[in-house]
């Protein structure tokens, strides 16, 4: 393997990793802040991909501009779901919650199959399909844009969570919801927005995924597994760690795919995940709280 190949593989991996981080961020937010294991994450993600496909392929919208209505719709639906059932579901025990979200997964997946069938679809990304070259290296513009938008979004989210009072309130809810309520934070209102953001970000993940790969409604569990991989590796509580985890997974996949037959990618990556869970279950997250 020469240096040029390494650089190309690294570049491919980082771009793929950027997209993977985009897949996981909505899941990470809901799990980290609201302690919700959103099993329906990938179904919402693929639903977002399908809406995005309609906007770009059928209505002819610009592939970058078309992302915004999908994310806004995801946020709106999230707020609605929280207002109607989500706020009650979070009070139930974790088993009930997982089952409830599995129910939502089946519902969303079934709706997607009824509307769009099980056909595999590819978004016609138009001007984003060209290759961008850097010396002897070349990358699809669609991947550069998908990864770049994800990084921008995640840095923005990180800055919101760490530099603003609203972000501090979100982090406070994630760390001690009772005390957050005691200091006067409207926990229900903020939780509703976070839930909306979680689904909006899942829809965003669907758009960047659809920008770079073909997809079909019933294959979303694969992306759920990938999202969990990124979230577990990154640990909870930091957007930037989720981004780093996505990039690492992307780079590993890129190199493993080059060095080993394709079917080994899952074995190696999930083997590493199992090992990580054994030796460092908190992922990249630090544990800081001091005991009395």
């Amino acid at each position: 393997m020469n240096l040029e190949t390494v650089a190309q593989l690294l570049g491919n991996g980082l771009l793929l990793g950027g997209v993977y981080a985009g897949l996981g961020i909505g899941l990470s937010l809901l799990l980290g802040v609201l302690k919700i294991v959103n099993l329906s994450h990938s179904a919402v993600l693929i639903f977002g991909s399908l809406i995005y496909w309609e906007l770009v392929n059928t209505l002819g919208l610009d592939p970058i501009l078309a992302i915004f209505p999908v994310v806004v719709a995801g946020f709106g639906i999230g707020v609605l779901v929280h207002r109607t059932v989500g706020q009650y579901m979070v009070r139930e025990d974790s088993r009930t919650m997982v089952l409830a979200f599995f129910g939502i997964l089946v519902l969303v997946e079934s709706a997607a199959i009824i509307i769009w069938t099980t056909d595999t679809r590819t978004v016609n990304v138009g001007y984003l399909s060209q290759l961008v070259t850097f010396g002897s290296l070349s990358f699809p513009l669609s991947k550069l844009v998908a990864a770049g938008l994800t990084v921008l979004l995640m840095v923005g989210l990180h800055l919101y969570l760490t530099r603003t009072l609203g972000g501090a309130a979100v982090r406070a809810i994630s760390q001690n919801i009772d005390v957050a309520q005691m200091v006067g934070i409207d926990v229900t209102k903020i939780s509703r927005r976070v839930f909306g953001a979680g689904l909006g970000l899942a829809a965003f993940g669907g758009t960047v995924l659809a920008m770079v790969v073909s997809f079909s409604p019933q294959e979303h569990p694969r992306w759920l597994a990938w999202s969990f991989l990124v979230v577990i590796l990154g640990g909870l509580g930091s957007t930037l760690r989720t981004l780093s985890a996505g990039l690492i997974v992307g780079v590993l996949e890129s190199f493993i795919g080059f060095l080993l037959p394709f079917q080994y990618i899952y074995v190696v990556l999930y083997g590493l995940l199992a090992l990580l869970l054994l030796v460092r279950p908190q992922g990249f997250a630090r544990t800081k709280q001091r005991e009395l």
Binding site: A168, A169, Q175, Q181, M182, G184, L292
Partner: protein, 249 residues
Amino acid sequence: MNRLTEPDNLGASLQMAEVNAGYFEKDLVLNSVSINVRPGAVTAVLGPNGSGKSTALRVLSGFLPARQGKIWLDGEEISALSPGERLSRGISLLPQGRSIFPELTVEDNLVLGAWLLRHNKSELKSAVEAMFDRYPLLKGFRHRVAGSLSGGQARMLEFARTLIVSPSVLLIDEPSVGLAPFLVDEVYDELERLKGENSTILLVDQNVSAAVELADYVYTLAYGENHLQGNKDSFEGQLDGLIQQWLSL
């Protein structure tokens, strides 16, 4: 001392009158309990485990609704108000156990404690600085994550976070629980300071002798009902007997 049958009216700033409350439908933790929190004084609520002391604080702060009975603040009925609304009227709860945001900095913990002031940035900032002036030790830890503080430092941060909105009534639940003995002294020094500032305090504590020594007025609960009440002096010389009695309950 006398057995309480009717809530008295001694100009209390916060009053709980004949309140029933519980966590489960068929379970009554408080049964017709009445407590008057007198302005500018320390009122202690004592009793054995499970007598309903902490539940009374949850009801007063709005985290547990009263099924029956009423809550009054300076003559205004507040029974139907949410915890947030009660906080904005000056009722602030310092719960038992750790109540910090461990991964946020000390400063962020204080800023969030002043959440009610969030629309007035300068007021919020000066409230935070006032707390750093009051607790100089915390100033040195301003940018440190709160989870790294020692038990005593964390307790001081919790006091600061509770006091930052200048509450008119402080509800304090088991402030010394889980702390090393020398830290318990620090906590009671702080309570003495608050008393010296004429703060209105309702204190629940298992540390009976320290609580009675600090208090101006004492209530005892047993089996979720009012048991005894009286001025601190009326409990003197009877604490050992009282504790023996609770241990046998």
